[in-house]
């Protein structure tokens, strides 16, 4: 086990708790620069605290590791076998972000990535990739625009999950109570 890195003497109380929670909920690498912005602290203080979390996580089932682009919380490689067995039996649910992208594709298809981003106000590359990987969304063509961006639509698998006969059976906005 690594020797414990000391937390800066003047570190903000609750900083480790806040950072651990952010790493958990983020679902991807957390850069110390952005974390420092969000927490309104100096980047050095945040970077130091992330290092402390990383050393404390050694040997546990969930680790904090430095990766390209920041710090990532992930399940420990030592537990990979157990996690893989779990994944074989447990169904997965899309994240809220993926559901938002799925909704945008369902009602706006064919839609480009840029249009999805604009609708959500945030980058949608991750959730879109998840939906493509799990067969809920597919590329359906290209838009006749500069760059010829790909357009996306829903799949038959999507219809099956929602138990809909076809896209015409999707409810319309006017039907919401």
């Amino acid at each position: 086990m690594n020797p414990e890195l000391p937390l800066m003497a003047n570190a903000r109380p609750g900083l480790l708790t806040d950072l651990e929670a952010i790493l958990f909920a983020a679902g991807g690498p957390v850069s110390s620069r952005r974390a420092a912005e969000v927490l309104q602290l100096a980047e050095a203080e945040v970077e130091n605290a992330l290092g402390v979390l990383a050393t404390r996580s050694v040997g546990r089932g969930v680790e904090v590791v430095a990766v390209a682009g920041g710090w990532l919380m992930r399940s420990a490689p030592a537990a990979a076998g157990a996690v893989a067995k779990w994944r074989d039996v447990a169904p997965i649910r899309p994240s809220r972000a993926a559901l938002e992208v799925l909704a945008a594709v369902a009602w706006r298809q064919p839609i480009t990535r840029a249009e999805i981003d604009a609708l959500r106000g945030v980058d949608s590359a991750g959730p879109l990739r998840w939906l493509l990987g799990h067969g809920l969304v597919r590329a359906v063509g290209r838009r006749a625009e500069i760059g010829r961006p790909a357009t996306y639509g829903t799949t038959d698998g999507f219809l099956t999950l929602l138990q809909l006969p076809d896209l015409g059976a999707l409810p319309s906005i006017g039907e919401v109570g």
């Binding site: 983020a26 899309p94 809220r96 559901l99 799925l102 909704a103 138990q163 059976a169 919401v176």
Partner: protein, 253 residues
């Protein structure tokens, strides 16, 4: 405007809700329920709503009629043990309804006070490291997905609250308000900034329609540098150089 009577559409939901609010505001004991006082408070509230043109639904009138009927029963001497005493006292029925509704409201408050995912605690977004297709469970149906799409279209906008202090504007007033806001922002603004402080959905819609009308009349320009990007509004006309009222007068269009 009577400060004690601010209508939040999201809070007052139907006649039972309004009646319960009035009973609690007046500090009336549910067990005693003096019908003359209750009916007077309800009718007064209804008058306010009619004044404000809030679109009184029929069920409010049914409640008013019920209360007036119960008040008249109170004024008459009680029948000494009527023969067909099987029928429940209509006042008891109303009291039971109010009690059940009060209980439901406090239960809703308790639910609202519980820790909630997305507000007090957060779950992990299962996006990273989940390589390989797995059996997917959506967890919602088509209407749920549609609700998320609806949320997306209204992203970042506060929930609709209608208060008497914010009546729906007519077109001329909307334009005057937009002129004032644009001038206050130096004659140029991002479209959304024009109604950023408006909590009521209907007001935001009115302002949006106002912007379109003013663009049609050439009083302002709308431009966006990128597809789906922010829209810039630039004021082209001076408010004192146009006749707002005349522009929207139906017989002159």
């Amino acid at each position: 405007m009577n400060e004690a009577f601010v209508v939040h559409t999201d809070v007052f939901d139907g006649p039972l809700d309004l009646l319960l609010h009035l009973v609690q505001r007046e500090g009336i004991d549910l067990r005693a329920l003096p019908m003359a006082r209750v009916a007077a408070a309800y009718l007064e509230a209804l008058d306010h709503m009619i004044e404000l043109d809030l679109g009184i639904a029929g069920d409010h009138l049914v409640m008013a009629a019920t209360l007036v009927h119960l008040k008249s029963l109170d004024l008459l001497p009680r029948a000494p043990m009527a023969v067909d005493d099987d029928a429940p006292d209509p006042r008891d029925v109303l009291v039971a309804q109010l009690k059940a509704h009060a209980l439901l409201r406090s239960q809703a408050d308790r639910l609202d006070g519980l820790q909630r995912v997305g507000r007090d605690v957060f779950l992990r977004e299962p996006d990273v490291g989940d390589a390989g297709p797995r059996r997917v469970e959506l967890g919602i149906d088509a209407f749920g997905l549609l609700a998320i799409y609806g949320d997306l279209l209204l992203r970042g906008r506060p929930t609709a609250v209608a208060t008497p202090e914010e009546p729906i504007l007519d077109l001329p007033s909307t334009c005057r308000l937009l002129f004032a806001r644009l001038l206050g922002l130096g004659g140029r603004a991002e479209l959304g900034a024009l109604w950023a402080d408006e909590p009521a959905k209907a007001r935001r819609v009115a302002l949006f329609l106002g912007v379109l009308e003013m663009a049609r009349l050439g009083w302002l320009s709308l431009a966006s540098r990128v597809l789906w990007g922010p829209v810039d509004v630039v004021l082209l006309a001076r408010p004192d150089a146009v006749d707002v009222h005349r522009a929207f007068s139906p017989d002159l269009r």
